[in-house]
Symmetry: C3
Subunit: 120 residues, 3 copies
């Protein structure tokens, strides 16, 4: 059930980068032992077109990742999961010259009792 | 104020499927009595291009629906709402041959006091 | 770290409207004093294609804005932030003739301890 969404601004990933980046992130999270079954983990990347960081005209970009998990993981496990995602993203992103880049990774605990999960 | 977002991977809906699917889901939720005024319910479908499920090379796809509601519904009502969305999606989706499909439906309770809602 | 996402249905913004709208919203939020450092604020606009409001055939549209912040702001500050976003959006949107428009602005408090934030 973890759902991972990675938003990124232009220039940080080319089309051919997306599949290997997703494969590496999923592999790292599964290897960390924090995912019950590998097929529970569903990840996607979304390119942002219209964005703005702050109020200056500096060249800037960012990656924002959000990982939604069911309750039951302790604080240390949740922090390890965001660190794991951050580590792969820092290694995999392109770094356009002169662009200041920022990274955010957030974890969200979903509501368990009403959650529907299963084969479609 | 309920906001429903349905993400889906390729092949599960064709362009002509989207309007009737949204109409059926909105109708089912409104008929369930859990929406105060029909125009409060705002639903959208978003196609995912870059995604990965787990760590294997199997052919896989998924639908992920998220329903954001204001506080005030009890657990049973919230579970009935996710079940209602799941039921329509299971019935409406295409099923590409050989693709393992998964469904998730999540409900999120929004923060009430700061919420802005009204005519634009 | 505030992350702002603005979804809008067709006709409410043209392509040339996006950059000035984002600039004005970011400026208003930073001027309000509720953002620690201006470069913390990351905003994006996303056009919706497949959507449905309620169950009637009326011409309708909406804007939905979601602002994700770290814990530590009181209720009044959070309400002022959503009001600030709403004020700019009400002023900046186009108003297609005969279309009923609705606005929602939601604030979400993120989980602090596991949050990763920094240069990429």
């Amino acid at each position: 059930m973890p759902h991972l969404t990675i938003e990124y601004t232009p220039g940080l990933f080319e089309a051919d980068d997306l599949a290997p980046t997703l494969a590496e992130i999923n592999g790292a999270l599964v290897d960390s032992g924090s995912i019950r079954q590998e097929h529970d983990l569903k990840s996607r990347m979304i390119a942002l077109d219209a964005f703005r960081i702050g109020t200056t005209q500096d060249a800037r970009g960012f990656i924002y990742a959000q990982l939604r998990v069911l309750p039951g993981r302790d604080d240390a496990t949740r922090a390890a999961m965001t660190a794991c995602v951050a580590e792969v993203l820092r290694r995999r992103t392109r770094r356009p010259a002169g662009v200041q880049l920022q990274l955010s990774v957030e974890i969200v605990e979903m509501e368990g009792p009403s959650y529907v999960k299963g084969p479609l």
